[in-house]
């Protein structure tokens, strides 16, 4: 709970290199994309500079709206499942003896050591019809026909939860680790049953962690591209795949740019709404 160190105002030039990198490599391209989104596609896939809103209006096509809708519910479901799975995990780690906490956190982070693509391919081996999951369930006698999971929304959901769970666990751990244990005991002593201890004390006091975790999982899930591409197959496209498709396959850069901006605006709106409604107070 120590206050953050004061910004070293005597060395403002220290922020110049990162600021420069951000402006040149992020700000300028973003403006270019914004400009392109108001242009139109040339006959051979180039960009024709003529101011038009056609790219934005054509997003209203039910075909694209369905993809946005699927992306949204997959991102919301991923966030919810990560929260439900991540909270007990983070709680156990935060309450473990100090000497174990480092190791447990290390285990949470260790998947990052392997390339995300490789790990997603591994999930294909697990989920496919003759995969490990079906073999295990069949030999255990729990099912009689292999489940068809790969290349469905379920496979995408599993992949997203797997990929982003650590982003939920780490901020939750940080919040729970700071939670004074005597507050939990005080609630227990004051006649709260374990469920009430959780809802009245643990959950409200870990809210900054819940909010940070949800934002960190929701944003990348909404724009996810590798996971739905590999695990979802051609049938379950998310916005990320649609944008990639427009840029690289259809070569309609203006429409891809418009999709990117709508996605960004959507994420921004969702996060702002969430912070307003749920967490502005605890972030101050």
């Amino acid at each position: 709970m120590t206050p953050p160190p004061k910004p070293t105002s005597s060395f403002p030039w220290l922020i110049l290199p990162p600021a420069g990198v951000l402006i040149v490599l992020f700000g300028v391209p973003l403006l270019l994309v914004l400009a392109v989104s108001f242009a139109s596609r040339g006959t051979y896939g180039g960009v024709e500079w003529a101011l038009t809103f056609a790219n934005y209006t054509s997003i209203a096509d039910p075909l694209y709206l369905r993809i946005f809708w699927r992306s949204l519910w997959l991102a919301v479901a991923t966030t919810a499942i990560c929260l439900v799975m991540g909270f007990p995990l983070a709680y156990v780690i935060a309450r473990a003896p100090k000497r174990w906490q480092g190791l447990l956190l290390f285990l949470v982070i260790i998947p990052f050591w392997t390339n995300f693509l490789v790990r997603t391919y591994a999930w294909m081996f697990i989920l496919r019809t003759e995969g490990l999951l079906n073999q295990a369930l069949l030999s255990a006698g729990l099912i009689h026909e292999p489940l068809n999971i790969l290349f469905t929304d379920w496979a995408v959901l599993i992949g997203l939860v797997y990929g982003y769970l650590p982003f939920m666990v780490l901020p939750l751990y940080a919040a729970l680790e700071r939670l004074d244990r005597s507050l939990v005991e005080a609630a227990w002593d004051l006649y709260a049953r374990p469920v009430q201890v959780f809802t009245k004390v643990v959950l409200p006091l870990s809210r900054p962690g819940v909010i940070a975790g949800c934002v960190l999982v929701f944003i990348p899930s909404l724009g996810a591209y590798v996971t739905p591409d590999l695990l979802g197959g051609a049938r379950t496209m998310m916005v990320g795949n649609l944008i990639q498709h427009q840029y690289l396959v259809v070569r309609d850069w203006p429409f891809g740019s418009a999709l990117s901006f709508v996605l960004m605006a959507g994420v921004l709106a969702a996060v702002l709404y969430y912070l307003r409604a749920g967490g502005a107070r605890s972030l101050t």
Partner: protein
């Protein structure tokens, strides 16, 4: 308020933490309505004892009985006790009033009853005006009073206090000692207070227990323990005490003579269980000693030449560090009422004197 009954009973309670025995076969009976303190240094097992009473830990052996009910397997939320935490453990996301109401709400009381009881509890600790503040907006002393109100509002049979004044500055602590005792008398609830501060324990308690290494060393009134400590540890812990080891030479009635190497014979009141030849510790409190330039006995049975190693002026008294003939260091606290002329300075020689009755003999 003492109806002769026991509010809390511990029977042979043992609690291990890994390889260490935190509480070792502790048996203790705390009377209904008394202010009882458990005094001991850190690691003495006093806090573990409190946590066993609160129900956060379960004893490995023995039994705990509160208000006539066996507490085995009873979780903290179903025990008729409330704990005031050392760091107060106020819920930071709730206002003062919400904190105080928490226990009543968890018990499922009706709103109509919770309101007046919370108001009454805040009135009792004089914090009614700050009911809508957050704990972080209160001073340490105010937070402590909220913690008290939050526990007492539930009208527990026993209030447990863990180092209740430890986080307060000295001036506030002295005020709260008096206030806490007055509060206890007013509400008539049994208070069990854990502390490492002997002064606090002596001031507030009706009775107190001294613990060391998980064991109970002595139980009694503050006067019992101060004037007749049962062991050298208690004598030292309850207040800085001077001591000399020796061997009993002889006992005549109520009077014992003790031979101390390098000093000679010291007179002290005899105690049961001490016979000629027993190795003993003679202890004398610093404030019971007299210092003089005059060699005459003046009615003091004990008498020896000393050198002043250090003299510290402390307002109403001067504290001396004295070198005895056998090179032992003793402390003396002499009132300054007699004026500056009577004070001694470092390096001076003097005569140290005390009456037989001022010494306490402890078997070693």
């Amino acid at each position: 308020m003492d109806d002769g009954g026991h509010s809390v009973e511990l029977r042979g309670v043992t609690k291990r933490h890994g390889a260490t025995v935190a509480v070792d076969r502790l048996s203790l009976a705390i009377r209904t309505g008394e202010f009882f303190s458990i005094l001991g240094p850190s690691g003495s097992g006093k806090t573990t004892t409190l946590r066993l009473l609160a129900g956060f830990e379960q004893p490995d052996a023995g039994e705990i009985i509160i208000e006539g009910r066996h507490m085995e397997g009873v979780p903290p939320n179903r025990r008729p006790v409330n704990l005031v935490f050392q760091n107060y453990a106020l819920f930071p996301h709730m206002t003062v009033a919400k904190n105080v109401a928490f226990g009543l709400e968890m018990q499922g009381l009706a709103e109509a009853e919770i309101g007046p009881r919370v108001a009454g509890a805040l009135e009792m600790v004089r914090l009614a005006a700050k009911r809508d503040r957050l704990p972080s907006q209160l001073s340490g002393g105010e937070q402590q009073r909220v913690a008290l109100a939050r526990a007492l509002v539930n009208r527990p049979a026993v209030l447990l206090l863990d180092e209740p004044l430890g986080a307060l500055d000295k001036q506030l602590r002295l005020e709260m000692e008096v206030e806490l005792k007055a509060l206890q008398e007013r509400v008539g609830i049994t208070f069990v207070c854990v502390t490492h501060d002997q002064e606090e324990a002596l001031t507030m308690s009706d009775r107190l227990a001294v613990m060391h290494h998980g064991k109970l060393l002595q139980v009694g009134t503050p006067e019992d323990i101060y004037t007749a400590p049962a062991s050298a540890f208690v004598a030292n812990f309850i207040g800085v005490s001077n001591s000399l080891s020796g061997r009993v030479e002889g006992i005549i009635g109520q009077h014992a003579t003790v031979a101390v190497e390098g000093i000679g014979v010291i007179h002290a009141p005899a105690v049961p269980g001490v016979a000629a030849g027993t190795p003993v510790l003679v202890t004398v409190r610093p404030e019971r000693l007299h210092l003089s330039r005059d060699e005459a006995h003046d009615g003091f049975q004990n008498h020896m030449p000393v050198r002043v190693a250090k003299a510290i002026y402390a307002g109403n008294e001067t504290q001396y560090l004295l070198t005895l003939p056998n090179k032992h260091m003793w402390k003396a606290r002499i009132p300054n009422a007699d004026g500056a002329a009577k004070r001694f300075h470092a390096g001076e020689s003097a005569y140290l004197k005390w009456r037989t009755a001022e010494a306490v003999l402890l078997p070693e």
